[in-house]
Amino acid sequence: MKKKTTPFGVLTIILLSILTILFVFPFYWIMTGAFKSQPDAIKIPPQWWPQAPTLENFEKLLIQNPAAQWLFNSVFISVVTMLLVCITSSLAGYVLAKKRFYGQKLLFSIFIAAMALPKQVVIVPLVRIINFMGIHDTLWAVILPLIGWPFGVFLMKQFSENIPGELLESAKIDGCGELRTFVSIAFPIIKPGFAALAIFTFINTWNDYFMQLVMLSSRSKLTVSLGVATLQAEMATNYGLIMAGAALSAIPIVAVFTIFQKSFTQGITMGAVKG
């Protein structure tokens, strides 16, 4: 380790500090703005720190708007999607990595091709199908289309490659059934992948504004992001209130990310490794 501080090094530190401030500032502005009253929020020069902190924005949010319900909806959608994606993807990823069967190559190619396709481009027929199933404007309309997620399958396949074949062989010789082999032998090995996919799916689903926007419409069915977007459309310049909503939508997810940062980072990196 060389510890030479070159002019270039100093410049880099300054630059990184400036960038850090720029990247953290919007989050800071949400958090402080949430505690500013309406007149304080639009004051120029701006208050860098709320001079008279108030909870009135949160009161308005929780009493005049069903924000608690929105929060519940976001949690419900994200948790259920997370569980379903993780279970289905790990089953699929496991056999794609560890079994040899007819149609395997073709199936895997289809998943890979579908990974590049954003859901948005098929959104109109997707809404049609949801309507046909009679679940439009329910939380399931957001959850179900997110489950057959090729990226999840791909990620779990990557992690499943680590399962030693001999272990599976010996389980078979001992007369262990397929499902039990998966649960008691494969699963403990792919657990880190399961965790990474869980956190990845949770964050993605929580922030998947587009799906929520086209699938949900009644005020009581909105998610917190959608609720904030609706508030913004209704009262464009009540910035304090809107920041309180933004804070409500951001805090849970930032907390989850900070706690599980390691798993998440691993998921992102594994998903990019060539298979």
């Binding site: 850090t20 069967f101 948005q120 057959g148 997810i253």
Partner: protein, 296 residues
């Protein structure tokens, strides 16, 4: 031979049982809509009408000024954001990957913060920052004597798209930085040491040793950033609704407007097909182009 076929059949049955849940959801919510979208793009399909019109929608699309404008804006967004994202994240990653685990983790969090905060929260706070009267952007720039009068960042055709691209950039570097930090950490240190001993300067070390090892990661980053930029939606819908005068409309936003505001489903699906093909071609080309001298 016969036993191996029998064994394979058994494995196939087991495998498809395990795959069944994913396959069912994939078939219903990915494949079916794809086919439906492709088929209905050849129909005049609205609330009241459903008639076959051949390729009329496609002809209309290429003659639709707003569509062309949206296509150009989409391309501008992609062309601006992809190289900047790559260079920016490579810079941050290479300055931080050798630091302590704590420092790395700190910078990962900093640059990932806008992604985690969520597109809606990020968008509404920037709307406030850009507000012509009470926004902090005008205040700061005026205090620094960089501008004389308040600028309506999102309401002025000259600035609106740029204003949006800036926000998009803050939300797109998080993942690339994580990826670059990981793959820089994987490069064989002894190789670089050997090169330095042999008198290679830092530039040569980067260009001859680091860059080739980073190519697969770069390729992946270019592809995901391109796809993300194509999908950029919340920013536009919440900030400008594609205005002023469609100067910030993108294909994705225009598709949304046609489908969900004007109920022109067939036409919207035509744009969806176009977008899917475009993304397919671009991803493929990037693999060919950037992947040509990649060795695994």
């Amino acid at each position: 031979m016969k036993t191996s076929h029998k064994l394979m059949m058994r494995e196939t049955i087991v495998s498809y049982t395990f795959l069944a849940p994913v396959l069912i959801f994939f078939a219903v919510f990915v494949l079916t809509p794809m086919v439906m979208g492709l088929v209905t793009s050849f129909f005049n399909y609205t609330m009241t009408d459903f008639t076959f019109v051949g390729i009329d929608n496609y002809i209309r699309m290429f003659n639709d000024e707003v569509f062309i404008k949206s296509l150009i804006n989409t391309i501008i967004i992609v062309v601006a954001s992809v190289p900047i994202t790559v260079i920016f994240s490579l810079f941050v990653a290479s300055q931080t990957y050798e630091k302590s685990a704590f420092t790395r983790s700190f910078f990962r969090c900093v640059f990932f913060l806008p992604v985690v905060t969520g597109s809606v929260a990020v968008t509404v706070v920037w709307k406030w920052i850009y507000d012509p009267l009470s926004g902090i952007m005008n205040y700061v720039l005026k205090s620094g004597n960089l501008i004389e009068q308040n600028i309506s960042w999102l309401g002025d055709k000259r600035y609106a798209l740029l204003a949006i691209i800036i926000i998009l950039l803050t939300t797109s570097v998080g993942q690339p930085i994580i990826l670059y930090i990981a793959s820089l950490g994987n490069i064989d240190k002894s190789l670089m040491e050997a090169a330095r001993v042999d008198g290679a300067n830092e530039f040569q070390v980067f260009w001859k040793i680091k860059w080739p090892s980073l190519l697969p990661t770069t390729l992946y980053i270019v592809v995901i950033t391109t796809i993300n930029s194509f999908q950029c939606f919340a920013l536009i819908q919440l900030l400008t609704s594609g205005g002023p005068n469609y100067s910030t409309s993108t294909i994705m936003y225009y598709l949304y407007e046609k489908a969900f505001k004007l109920s022109e489903y067939g036409y919207a699906n035509t744009m969806g097909v176009f977008l899917a093909v475009l993304i397919g071609i671009i991803s493929f080309a990037q693999f060919k182009f950037l992947g040509s001298d990649v060795e695994y």
